[in-house]
Amino acid sequence: MAKTIVEKIFSRICERDMSAGDVMMAPVDGAMIHDITGPLAIHKFHEMGGERVFDPSKVIMLFDHQVPADSISAAELQQFMRSFASEQGIFNYDLREGVCHQVVLEKGRAAPGEIIVGSDSHTCMYGAVGAFATGIGSTDMGFVLRYGALYFRVPESIRVDVSGTFPEWVGAKDFILSLAGDIGADGATYQALEFTGEAIRRMDMAGRMTCCNMAIEMGGKAGIVPPDKTTWAYVGERRDSVPFDLASDEGASYAAWKSYDVSDLEPQVAVPHNVDHVVAVGEVAGTPVDQVFIGSCTNGRFEDFRDVAGILGNRRFSDDVRVIIIPASREEYLKTLRAGYIERFVEAGALVEAPCCGPCMGGAFGLLAPGEVSLSTSNRNFRGRQGSAEAEVYLASAATAAATAIAGEITDPREVV
């Protein structure tokens, strides 16, 4: 029977025929925990009678949400996780490397055909390398730490076929926001979003990560891009790997098949307070902002900062805006630094912080006061997500964020270059 890529991954791992709707306890190839959801997962592991984790080499630990520790309680939780790592023989990236999802991919801890779980909803980002990856809660993670497996239901897939060529200063973030606007915040619940088509094949890894990252914003269990030359080149630089064919069969069964042409796509903005409340930038242009955040697992990569530098040129950011720039990882930070962009951003008036989640999760720093407005390259604009419930958050691409940071109001990047 013709299969989707997701059905093939489960069939391959289980060495038997699996299709959408099948439920099984499937072994995982990796399990990621961080400073926010990890401590509870460890407690649950112990409550379940766990003594040794299933395979320390498959457990990925790092701290990114509240680093460097912003409170004594955060410091204690990190201390607790460090001692668990050393007692279990788990390699801990600690706070050195950056945002979990970026680090998992750039350290080669996810690869085509693998099943990876993480106790963070944006774990679906690893679909960018052709892995089946999904976010789980801490108790489920406790179970995974003990047994190395979890109950899965093989999901149906929605095929998202993307054709055309992106106009200048329009890209992956604009596309994925427009998709969220089209299918809604629960448009892919319990399903996998499979991204295909010429525009995806031409897309760099950074853009694919942005697309898969936001699958969860449509309720998706996973986002996935079938591995191609771009994927294998990325993975091959990071671990030993032998490319193999992994793609959906012709005639595979989909829950829905959506086709888009991005040739005329305009920069998109999600307006408060829903990710699926998406408009073309022109509809909100001129809205004054107090803060611009450029970073996160969604858009904190070198390619994003290259766009920011391209829009910025030799200008300054508006003095009326707090511009916070945070590379998603040490590797992305170094690339951006070596290209000279960091110096440019600092000269232009931005605050450049060390790799971490930053204002995205509204817990550590960069919080908003009542009545303030932020434009952010991150993934969620829920009420209260970045501070006060009386603040407003708009979501957009790095290019739109740069244009907005220069003008002090929401601005179409095509109008400032």
Partner: protein, 165 residues
């Protein structure tokens, strides 16, 4: 027993804001539940209260702090037209029964509601609405009293013995 009525797309940041995620005690988390978005909840909620919501309840972050906060507030039952996937699993693991009731009508806080999970329906203001059964593989976990007691009962897991559901 009070009914707390919510709309569509209630996210886990609303249920428990990001600045409280270093807390793990359900009672302490409950003191911040819906802070800023529904402030009466944390002061007025009582043991045994029910949440009735629209579509996509619990969307967003995977934080288990969200169902823990609701459990700490005394909520054991949430009826919604649909749930976000991660929250649904987290709720079961935390001792909250998420009841999927796709067609439930307009429920007010003065409505009379009775939930009959075994019989498969919710009765609200005299009208019966069908509920979707808990998937069989999760039923075992619910019956065991949650994933922790379920895990304690088993020595090892048998992987890849699939069943069609």
């Amino acid at each position: 027993m009070r009914i707390w009525v919510f709309g569509d797309d209630i996210d886990t940041d609303a249920i428990i804001p990001g600045r409280y995620l270093t807390i793990y005690d359900p009672k302490e988390l409950a003191m911040h539940a819906f802070e800023g978005t529904r402030d009466a909840f944390r002061t007025d909620v009582r043991e045994g209260d029910i949440i009735v919501a629209g579509r996509n309840f619990g969307c967003g972050s995977s934080r288990e702090h969200a169902p823990l906060a609701l459990r700490g507030a005394g909520v054991r039952l949430i009826v919604a037209r649909s749930f976000a996937r991660i929250f649904y699993r987290n709720a079961i693991n935390t001792g909250i029964l998420p009841v999927v009731c796709p067609d439930i009508g307009d429920i007010g806080e003065k409505s009379r509601i009775a939930v009959h999970p075994e019989a498969g329906y919710v009765e609200a203001d005299g009208v019966q609405y069908r509920i979707e059964p808990v998937p069989a593989f999760l039923r075992k976990i619910v019956d065991a009293g949650g994933l922790v007691p379920y895990a304690r009962e088993i020595e090892e897991v048998e992987t890849c013995t699939g069943s069609r559901q």
